[in-house]
């Protein structure tokens, strides 16, 4: 086969895979809703608020911990999140109303 | 200011388009000032080379404009959840006074860039650069509009603040809003349907006649332009109603949403495609007799006419199909 047609074939194959990605994601999401989310009644009832990404640091395990004066606390009313906290305004929204 | 990837991408494209536009415009002015096809001097040769650059840039601008037009509408649609009162792109665009002008300019620029490329294509086929002045005057009209569009786009995104209360399409395009869009939406259905179908009929008939006989090109082009405007008004006035199956919902943007099968993309693509090519036919009309183009322009026009014809026919067929199979009946 001509090289140009080979390339076009390769590219359309790549495009096909690219278009399959959203479909795969969509399907995986549906499966995860069905399976994973019903996983643990106990966990659900605990009403957790945070992701367990890095467990040692409070500012990643529980960003919403409220200390107003502690290391890596960028602003007294900010929720903690290192290292991006210094780039983001503290969420003053809904707080300044009497 | 919304720091959302799509907004960033749109602003990036606007920036690139402006830079390229300034570049092309600068050489456009130079070419207008120093063009002398009879000379074989080095300056002239350099300018001739620049024409390649300008037309390359313009074709990139056109494709960027086309892609960013749809990305813009989709992004506006996507962002509606940030604004109270917005339910689709209509509300997002109404958040500040730059939204709609940006959209209208985007459409206009897309049409102009398309027409420019058509003229450029014809000019390139003539061996004596017959349209060079027309082409670069047109370019100098397009470039400021491109810059204005980018400026508006930046102003629009800069002015987007979440929690702004905006209007939804239901009120923007309602009869009582008193605005121009509202007036369009409140045009009487029957009259608009008559106008739309007769406009389409005249366009298609004159297109066919022009295609077969090569005459009445101006009529066709004018019909395309007028029908384009009528079709936009008709989308507001009655076509959208059939798609929404609601007698009072006149929004031109909800058509683009998933709930309606993204049918709006097909409608607008055919409408814009038909408009660009149809207007192109008219713009080329004065040059049918210009020396070297006399055998070329008619062939180009025939092809353009065919594209415009097919596009408009598709638009009409989709409309008719929906009018027949819609759950809504406006005219008993």
């Amino acid at each position: 086969m001509r090289r140009s047609l080979q390339f076009l074939l390769f590219t359309s194959f790549g495009l096909l895979i690219l278009m399959l990605l959203p479909l795969h994601a969509h399907r995986a999401q549906q499966l995860s809703v069905a399976e994973l989310r019903g996983q643990s009644f106990l966990l659900k009832s605990l009403q957790l608020t945070d992701l367990c990404l890095v467990t040692e640091a409070r500012y990643t395990r529980h960003p919403a911990m409220a200390d107003r004066h502690s290391p890596f606390q960028e602003h007294p009313v900010a929720l903690e999140h290192f290292p991006s906290g210094s780039l983001i305004l503290p969420p003053l929204h809904g707080r300044d109303k009497p | 200011m919304i720091l959302q990837p799509a907004a960033l991408a749109l602003q990036l494209i606007a920036l690139l388009v402006s830079l390229m536009g300034i570049f092309a415009g600068y050489y456009g002015i130079k070419i207008l000032g120093h063009w002398d096809p009879a000379s074989g001097s080095e300056g002239q040769l350099e300018l001739e080379r620049r024409t390649y650059l300008v037309s390359t840039i313009m074709s990139y601008i056109l494709s960027f404009e086309l892609m960013s037009l749809f990305l813009f509408i989709y992004t506006a649609d996507d962002l509606h959840s940030l604004f109270t009162g917005a339910m689709c792109a209509a509300g997002t665009l109404a958040v500040n006074s730059f939204g709609y002008p940006t959209l209208i300019l985007k459409i206009l620029n897309f049409l102009l860039a398309g027409v420019w490329l058509i003229v450029n294509h014809a000019d390139n086929r003539g061996y004596d650069y017959p349209l060079i002045r027309v082409k670069y005057r047109l370019l100098n009209l397009v470039v400021p509009l491109l810059l204005l569009e980018s400026g508006l786009l930046f102003a629009y995104f800069a002015g987007l603040k979440p929690d702004i209360i905006t209007s939804c399409c239901g009120s923007l395009f309602s009869h009582e809003s008193g605005s121009f869009s509202g007036d369009l939406a409140s045009l009487p259905h029957l009259a608009m349907q008559i106008a739309f179908f007769s406009g389409m009929a005249i366009t298609l008939a004159s297109g066919l006649f022009f295609y077969l006989r090569g005459r009445t090109g101006y009529l066709f082009s004018i019909a395309v332009t007028v029908t384009f405007l009528i079709a936009i008004a008709s989308i507001l006035s009655f076509i959208s109603l059939y798609f929404y199956e609601l007698p009072t919902h006149h929004c031109p943007f909800c058509l683009l949403q998933k709930e309606y099968g993204y049918i709006g993309y097909l409608l607008y693509a055919t409408l814009f495609g038909g408009a660009v090519t149809g207007i192109g036919v008219g713009v080329l009309m004065p040059f049918r007799k210009v020396g070297s183009l006399s055998s070329i322009v008619p062939a180009i026009q025939r092809r353009l006419t065919l594209v415009a014809f097919v596009c408009y026919l598709m638009f009409t067929l989709v409309t008719i199909w929906k009018m027949i199979f819609s759950g809504l009946k406006l005219v008993p």
């Binding site: - | 074989g40 080095e42 390139n124 086929r125 004596d128 055998s295 070329i296």
Partner: protein, 242 residues
């Protein structure tokens, strides 16, 4: 027939280092003949050939092509003369592609691709089907007896083979005029003779051949129909050898 009238080509015009490569040349070149441009290097032979071959435009003067107009796409039927000096590049190019075939001093083959591909190269942008011009290229290779080299890369070829590939390439688009610029400069006498034999065959096929050369094997060849002698950009002597 090619007619030149008052052809001048200057470089760097208006600047201090301005020089005139070709100075007011008026000339008629007959079709289906071998015409040799002779003169020392720097006499303007090459510049003149580039202008005839639609590669460059003269600063002033006009060039007419007669009888080759059939290959020009935009030309209307019945018009036999093309004035090529005021044409934009893309039209010059169309004429060049369909009317002229070029053989260069250094052969100018593209390295890294095969002989066959090199021969086919001028046909790529014409939009002709690949199978069509591929068959033609193979036929040309056969004609020059180098079909066994088709799949080889050009780096590995000998001087004589290179020359034949270059000639085959010049012929791929079936031109009516062949332009050769110092074709024998890098060849020994035997190969130069061989070249002239091939040129003779081409002439026999009805092609016009224009050669710039200061090689006696070329301009003293019995095949040559007319000679144009050049010096400092001007024609000093133009005569028919018949």
């Amino acid at each position: 027939m090619i007619e030149l009238s008052g052809i001048t080509k200057s470089f760097n015009s208006g600047k201090a280092n301005q020089f005139t490569a070709v100075d007011n040349v008026t000339l008629v070149i007959n079709p289906k003949q071998i015409t040799v441009f002779k003169g020392p290097s720097g006499s303007g032979k090459t510049s003149l050939l580039t202008m005839i071959g639609c590669m460059a435009r003269p600063t002033s003067g006009r060039i007419f092509l007669r009888g080759v107009a059939a290959a020009v796409p935009f030309q209307q039927d019945g018009v036999e003369v093309v004035e090529i000096t005021s044409l934009p590049e893309r039209f010059l190019n169309d004429i060049r592609r369909s009317t002229f075939g070029f053989i260069f001093q250094q052969f100018n083959l593209v390295k890294g691709i095969t002989v066959l591909e090199n021969v086919m190269l001028p046909a790529y942008p014409t939009g002709e089907g690949r199978a069509d011009f591929r068959a033609r290229a193979l036929k040309l290779l056969e004609q020059f007896d180098i079909v066994r080299l088709a799949g080889q890369r050009v780096e590995l070829l000998s001087g004589g083979e290179l020359q034949r590939v270059a000639i085959a390439r010049a012929l791929i688009n079936n031109p009516s005029i062949i332009i050769a610029d110092e074709p024998t400069a890098h060849l020994d006498s035997k190969l130069s003779q061989e070249f002239m034999t091939i040129v003779g065959c081409l002439k026999g096929e009805g092609k016009s051949v224009l050669i710039a050369s200061h090689d006696p094997i070329v301009f003293d060849s019995l095949l040559v129909d007319s000679q144009v002698e050049m010096r400092d950009g001007a024609v000093v002597n133009s005569r028919s050898c018949r």
